[in-house]
Amino acid sequence: MNNLYEKHLMICGATGCLASGSQSVEEALRTELEKHGIKDKFRVVMSGCPGFCEVGPIMVVYPDKVFYCRLKPKDIPEIVEKHLFGGEMVERLLYKGPDVEAPARFFDTIPFYAKQKFNVLRNSGLIDPENIDEYIMRGGYRALTRVLQMEPADICEEVKSSGLRGRGGAGFPTGLKWEFTLKEPGAKKYVVCNADEGDPGAFMDRSILEGDPHTVLEGMLVCGRTTGADEGYIYCRAEYPLAIKRLKIAIEQAEEYGLLGENILGYGFNFKINIKEGAGAFVCGEETALLASIEGKRGMPRPRPPFPAQSGLFGKPTTINNVETLANIPLIVKEGGVEEYIKIGTEGSKGTKVFALAGKVRNTGLCEVPMGITIREIIYDVGGGIKGDREFKAVQAGGPSGGCIPAELLDLPIDYDSLNKAGAIMGSGGLVVMDERTCMVDLARYFLSFTQKESCGKCTPCREGTKRMLEILNRITEGEGKAEDIDTLESLAQSIKDSSLCGLGQTSPNPVLSTIRYFRHEYEEHINDKYCRSGVCKALFNYKIDTERCTGCTACARVCPVDAITGEKKEPHEINQDLCTRCGSCIERCPENCIMITPVEKKADVSS
């Protein structure tokens, strides 16, 4: 059926591009094709996410691999006329960026894609996620067919030897986890797919589910077959309606094809999959809390042991894996899969990892890169460098449970172990890039306020300790820091890390500890000098105009909402510190970059 169409027009139908208007682009395209009577020659697909959300809506034309970005409905007639009829690409809609000299015509010449390696996103953007045939055509469900003829222990061995580690955060070896459940006696076992994805800013799991739901189903089937489970749950956050819709379609189609249900493909293997919509608390992503939530209880972690492999969902042995982990499975257990798989990655971390690139980087979006890639490559090659050519300060890896990695470590090859050593974690793969205008104390405060709000309240250190730390950080950023604060933060952090019940509490101090580790001087400046060099903590800096360089253009004075800036035209301007609210409007506006962040000037002591 592939040959029936001249070209495939893959419009990104994932959440990011939908938000920037890909739906109307699709409609315009269909209308246009209809108008010209060529809708049978060109196939339009709302595909999964190709990752580059920054420049959406995106359309890729296959087989030409031409990549159009920032599309508007009004661009469509031109594409149809020039490209589809005329065979010429529309230059002005191609990707242009500071990282390429000429507009990049093809998908794979765009620097954002050059260093990527598509394993789990192999089908995203290439197939119609609502059509099982396309998945099957790209080799889908072959892994399942293969494992149906294998011994569970042998499948386990393969997964073990692939070196796959859990992508949900902790990086536990997946094969080993499966083996635990396999060895557990019991007629009833479960597979649970963790699609809670609670890290703020993370959306890799959503992308996989939206772009290639069958690969996750296949992963679960293989897991079920291996561990002896006959039922699976996908715990998906309710804020992902599109993912849920596509999963439902995928499950229905797989059932129709006899790939799910009773006696699958005649091998006597039964497996059914249910979807459970999660309420969305961050802690519900923690495995024991997630299980409680599926059981209809408040999503609250419980002590382990017993581990889910021993007593999981409804007290039965349960394997719980992350979406991305499961999406790796079909690649590994296909014929010759392991050999291919272990070629990529580092000693301790094999394969690829999907990251969500955010923050002050030029190309934000999703990228899949081989383990072992350096931070520099991710930020400067894939990410296209820092926005506005500011200076890179640090990157926060692993979301609120992770830590920051400073500029000194730009050449650190990323894998589970190196990140841990650096005081961060892989987590679910969030990377927030920060420049010189990010205050590290404020950053720590921000993440801690997140975890404090999300702490389930069950155990003391996390519930109350994060609140205490947050209070201290609030004080420091408001200029009320005390000399002993850093020590107090460190010892509290250690207590919370060591004595909290679940991963949320145990990792919650990471942002604080790692910022203290690499940016202690910023803390000290805040506390001792009452100075925030990044210009974030409003009580701790002044804006000051460099009178030497000021040209008196009056731009700043005109934007200041409180009229704190005075000065004659063409004369140097001045900021009245008593009026200034440090809103930052002027610094953004100044064409000469001559507004500086300086320590608060001590007022002359009136009494003396």
Binding site: G457, T460, P461, G465, K467, K497
Partner: protein, 681 residues
């Protein structure tokens, strides 16, 4: 036999059973680890994180309360790092606790948070802001909640969910604003709306003053309260309890701290004693023809004795009757039956027992050969299948109902109730087989037929029960760990053939064999078993001796005899809405209030306040449990057993009972209480 593990704690070699937690193993060996959420009678909660210990080979400390020991484990409980961490955790808890209230707090002295703060010599931290209601909530007569003081240990949530089977509390909110509140259908509600039965068990386990008894602010600090162990005589389960007195006043009742034999209490157990106030009159009341007037005790005793003696001499003992409603102790029952039989020469005595219950108990005893001992609430909680015959268990024996709920949690035990109840048993994981009132016996007969292998039975047709339902019942009770509970409602309506069917079911299913009985027979009267063993029923003498030739009248028969004018003298203890009818015979009654008094009674003797009663009781599981003596003077005034003695002596008996001890010795000599006489099985 459990395997023994060897491990090292703080350098000390320790042996403990496999499966023991690190905390238990340490405590068994005198090593103290601080805890706050741990409670010996609850499953570990793992919340406070105070009990952390270091295990050799593990980076992170682990909580000792919920981690089992392992062979060869090396544990350190007291390193400086652990102490620092615990201190920090504790100070965090203090930071959200209004410690400035300690001076006036009702839990001062027994507050577990205070205790830990003292042990650690904690500094008082700056308070952490949190959003919880600052005013205590007192929206019911029994329990006050003060959320400000809650340390979120989770004990109340667990005791209510697992042990009481109610799930009243939930945690809501997040972070430092997490709260424990009564919760139903997605919102915070009052305790009552959340399905609370006010058993107060959450109050008893709360480590701080977040949950307290109403009125606890009155009457003495915790350490000033005197404790007297005792037994609850609100129903025939006879749960253990502790009475706490201050200044001769009962302040509260609690569950005894420890001990395996302890079960939980229900609302009547926890709060019932406090609600039973002292008699509203202190002097004996004599009916003057128009109203009651105070009367001298000796005079009243002498007059009563004279009246009774003259009736006995003129009309014979048959014209006399003795009634009581089941709150008498074994000793009192023994004395009272002795008074009736030996002094008043009457067999018309019914001190609170159902004839059909007695019949069933006697049959059980015959067959099992031992005592009629049945399963206790603890056994119910561990059963795998439970059949309940008759309705009303929740009302008549709430603690048995709690145990059923506990057993059926998560479908662990299957439960079926044969009763007239219409609605489903949604709280339990069970079902009801609905029958017409009083037709439970017919179902039992049909079950017997089925067990005998009769394919279609007359009885089944009569009982209108489906074959599959019948099979379910029989399969439930033939299980190895099954229990049959028979409620008072069944005995109230049962006939002799129903009892035979009940016994036949027991025998056929193997529940009732020589040396074993797994049927719990529940009477409406708290000390029914005491009445049986001490001989307080017609035809049932001390030691459950059968007295066929002289069998007197039972409660109902006495009532109609009064109406017929065949009874001329009546002695009533603990009047329970007894009426004397038109032909008002001479009546002396012991009661606590005019409302309770039998209409037209000639003398009202003030009843002893039950909280102060000394004496022993036998519960439905045939366990003897005793109330120890409390404050001497209060126990002495109006004590019921003294009144019986005084009446006996005034009637000319040569009784010498200087103390209750003497009565007990006599009973022991006669082996009255028999098998139940060891305090616990």
């Amino acid at each position: 036999m459990k395997k023994t593990n060897t491990l090292t704690i703080d350098g000390k070699k320790i042996y403990a059973d496999e499966g023991t937690t690190i905390l238990e193993a340490a405590r068994q060996n005198g090593i103290e680890i601080p805890t706050l959420c741990y409670h010996p009678r609850l499953k570990p909660l793992g919340r406070c994180r105070l009990c952390i210990v270091k295990i050799k080979g593990l980076d992170r400390p682990v909580t000792s309360c919920d981690n089992p020991i392992q062979e060869g484990m090396v544990v350190a409980t007291d390193t400086p790092e652990l102490q620092d961490m615990r201190r920090r955790t504790l100070e965090l808890l203090l930071a959200t606790h209004p410690y400035e209230d300690c001076l006036t707090c009702v839990r001062t002295g027994t507050c577990e948070l205070q205790e830990q703060a003292y042990r650690f010599q904690s500094e008082l931290p700056e308070q952490l802001e949190r959003e919880v209601p600052t005013e205590p909530v007192s929206d019911n007569p029994w329990i006050v909640r003060d959320e400000q003081k809650c340390i979120l240990c989770g004990r109340c949530i667990q005791v209510c969910r697992i042990n009481v089977g109610r799930s009243v509390y939930s945690m809501i909110g997040s972070g430092v604003n997490t709260r424990v509140v009564p919760y139903r259908d997605g919102r915070e509600v009052s305790l009552e709306e959340a399905g609370c039965i006010f058993c107060g068990q959450c109050v008893d386990v709360c480590p701080v003053a977040a949950l307290t008894e109403t009125n606890r602010k009155e009457g003495g600090r915790e350490w000033e309260l005197a404790t007297a162990p005792g037994v609850c005589i609100e129903c025939s389960l006879g749960c253990y309890l502790e009475r706490r007195f201050f200044d001769d006043n009962l302040i509260k009742v609690t569950v005894p701290e420890e001990g395996e034999k302890v079960s939980w209490l229900c609302r009547r157990g926890k709060f019932g004693l406090r609600e039973r106030e002292p008699a509203s009159f202190t002097a004996v009341q004599k009916y003057s023809g128009i109203k009651y007037v105070d009367c001298d005790y000796e005079e009243a005793v002498d007059d009563t004795a004279a009246e009774l003696r003259s009736i006995k001499e003129n009309e014979g003992g048959k014209a006399l009757a003795v009634l009581a409603a089941g709150k008498l102790s074994n000793e009192e029952i023994y004395l009272l039956q002795k008074l009736a039989r030996e002094v008043l020469d009457t067999e018309n005595i019914d001190l609170g027992i159902e004839q059909m219950w007695l019949k069933a108990v006697r049959r059980v005893q015959e067959i099992s050969g031992t005592s009629p001992a049945g399963p206790a609430p603890r056994d119910i909680g561990e059963a795998e299948s439970i059949v309940i015959v008759g309705s009303g268990l929740e009302e008549s024996h709430p603690v048995a109902d709690m145990a059923v709920r506990q057993a059926s949690r998560y479908g662990k035990a299957a439960v079926v109730e044969i009763s007239e109840r219409g609605e489903p048993l949604n709280a339990w994981d069970g079902s009801v087989i609905t029958v017409k009132k009083g037709w439970e016996g017919a179902v039992l007969r049909a079950a017997v037929d089925l067990l005998k292998g009769k394919a279609s039975s007359e009885a089944a047709k009569k009982a209108r029960i489906e074959k599959n339902e019948l099979e379910r019942i029989t399969s439930f009770i033939t299980g190895s760990n099954s229990i049959l509970i028979v409620t008072p409602e069944f005995f109230a309506a049962a006939g002799a053939d129903d009892i035979e069917a009940l016994i036949a079911v027991g025998e056929k299913t193997g529940m009732l064999v020589r040396g074993q009985n797994k049927m719990l027979l529940l009477s409406r009267f708290s000390n029914a078993a005491g009445v049986a063993v001490a001989g307080g029923a017609p035809g049932c003498g001390p030691g459950m001796e059968t007295i066929p030739e002289a069998r007197g009248l039972n409660r109902d028969e006495i009532r109609s005899a009064i109406n017929d004018g065949r009874i001329s003298g009546l002695l009533i203890f603990g009047a329970d809405n007894e009426t004397i009818g038109l032909k008002a015979p001479f009546t002396a009654a012991v009661c606590g209030d005019y409302d309770e008094a039998p209409e037209g009674a000639d003398y009202l003797f003030p009843a002893q306040q039950i909280a102060f009663k000394e004496g022993c009781f036998v519960n439905a599981a045939w366990q003897k449990r005793c109330n120890t003596a409390v404050i001497e003077n209060k126990a002495e005034i109006n004590s019921d057993w003294r009144l019986i003695c005084d009446l006996g002596i005034a009637l000319g008996a040569k009784w010498e009972y200087p103390s209750l001890e003497k009565v007990r010795e006599e009973m022991k000599e006669k082996d009255v209480v028999g098998q139940a006489d060891q305090d616990e099985r």
